[in-house]
Amino acid sequence: MADKKKIAVTVKDLHITYRGLKKTSIRASWKNFGNKIELFHALKGVSFEIEEGKILGIIGTNGAGKSTMLRAIAGIFSPDKGKIDLHGNTISLLSIGVGFNKKLTGRENIFLSGMLLGFSEDDIRKKEKDIIEFADIGDFIDKPVKTYSSGMYSKLAFAITAILETDIMLIDEVLSVGDAKFKEKSYNKMKELISDEHRTVIIVSHSLDTIEELCDEVLWLNEGEVVKIGKPKDILPEYREFMKD
């Protein structure tokens, strides 16, 4: 069945280096004049492919390059070398509260954030009710976001990205927002979103249980390189061993 499916994301020999536009001031650049700029290689030649509808988990220690990779796939970074091909799919990075203006009401922020993600005003208006319903923060939806508790803030933010769907979703450690009840709900919603057979999902998480339950495939990154890629049941035991050392 695997070979019948379309490829949704192709990452080929991806290199990402932090440098170039380095922060500088007159004094600093004077001192460093002629010196080589320090380079930090966050990703060193990562290649993989994901089929449409699959769920890929990315694991690795802190600083392994997981978030960098997600952001590169989302188009926030440009690769220094290599290629990322989304095959024409729409993509969004599920992150908390992008573009929120804290002085405005939750409702206004739904539009602000949604339009930023590339949806039209009409699209959002159609889904506004679902979002508010899902966020479940009651009357607070018409109060300024700065009055929200951090839980409510995350709930609203999660609801926006979860209801406004894209073909490919990138999830960076946001499966645990809000209280226990909302956590359960968002987890289920996540599963529902993920189980859509046309939706491709990439999850970065430190919770191996989550990865084990949700993902079809796991990519293990270490210091910017792929250690292994494969089925969770093959990779996770080995990773657990590795983390013990």
Binding site: T24, G75, F77, G99, K103, L112, M115, G118, P144
Partner: protein, 266 residues
């Protein structure tokens, strides 16, 4: 360039919405609310009027309107330049989390400034009516002049926005630069009548300041058409229009080339 216009179309609504949101949030907590948009420019005008009309008197015709028009144009330019230097850094959250063409940020900002300019101009009209300035068809020429001022500040803004990302000191430098431009632009004095006949070496300072400094030039042209029913210098208007468009094109090019690296730096 095609990409630029495509992006502008695609994100235009976002830019407007976000500009509205910003304006709303700006006054959300104050008691007088949106009235500040009216009070603020009037107060500044009164200050300059007091200092340069009463303490250092002059015989400029319609001096209050004169100051106010200059001030409106200056404030717009000043805001655009000041706002653009740190624009990327101030929008750190956004830039590191989602892709958006970076000039959309400046576009959105510029809408809030345009809105404030609009209010200023309305007050200017009211003031002109009060002072009995005769309205003539010349008046309508303020539109093309403002377009040039907008393009000019947008172009410079794009470049500053780009260099401001990697060059921390730029904010300090623009601060100094703007202060200088403020004083040589004739916001509160008439360059021609004050400096018209003074020479430094072979250069006539008045003429030089007026023509080499686009802000002064736009300000002077605005006053000519709005207050004194005179024509602006079309040749120089055209020259500055071309320069402004070139600056914008250069800025857009630089941003396209570098925008995906910004997230790595900040």
């Amino acid at each position: 360039m095609r990409k630029f216009f495509y992006n502008i179309r695609k994100y235009f609504k976002y830019a407007i919405y976000s500009a509205k949101a910003e304006l709303k949030s700006e006054v959300a907590d104050s008691y007088l609310n949106w009235l500040w948009w009216v009070i603020e420019p009037i107060c500044f005008m009164l200050i300059y009027y007091f200092v340069f009309g009463v303490i250092f008197p002059n015989n400029e015709k319609y001096f209050a309107s004169f100051v106010f028009i200059g001030l409106s144009a200056w404030e717009f330019f000043n805001r655009m330049i000041n706002g653009s230097v740190k624009l990327i850094i101030n929008n750190r959250d956004l830039v590191t989390k989602v892709y958006i063409p970076k000039y959309i940020l400046l576009l959105s900002k510029s809408f809030t400034y345009l809105f404030k300019l609009g209010i200023s101009l309305l007050i200017a009209f009211a003031l002109m009516l009060y002072q009995g300035v005769p309205f003539t068809w010349h008046f309508l020429l303020f539109i093309p002049i403002l377009i040039i001022l907008y393009l000019l500040s947008f172009g410079i803004g794009l470049l500053l926005m780009h260099f401001g990302v990697s060059f921390n000191d730029l904010a300090n430098l623009t601060e100094i630069g703007l202060r200088m431009v403020f004083y040589v632009s004739g916001v509160f004095y008439n360059i021609t009548s004050r400096l018209g006949n003074r020479h430094v070496g072979p250069i006539k300072i008045g003429g030089f300041l007026l023509k080499a400094n686009p802000v002064a030039f736009c300000m002077d042209s605005l006053r000519r058409v709005m207050l004194y029913a005179k024509l602006p210098d079309f040749k120089f208007l055209l020259i500055w229009l071309v320069i402004s468009i070139l600056l914008c094109a250069w800025g857009v090019h630089v941003i396209h080339k570098n925008e995906n690296s910004y997230a790595k730096v900040i």
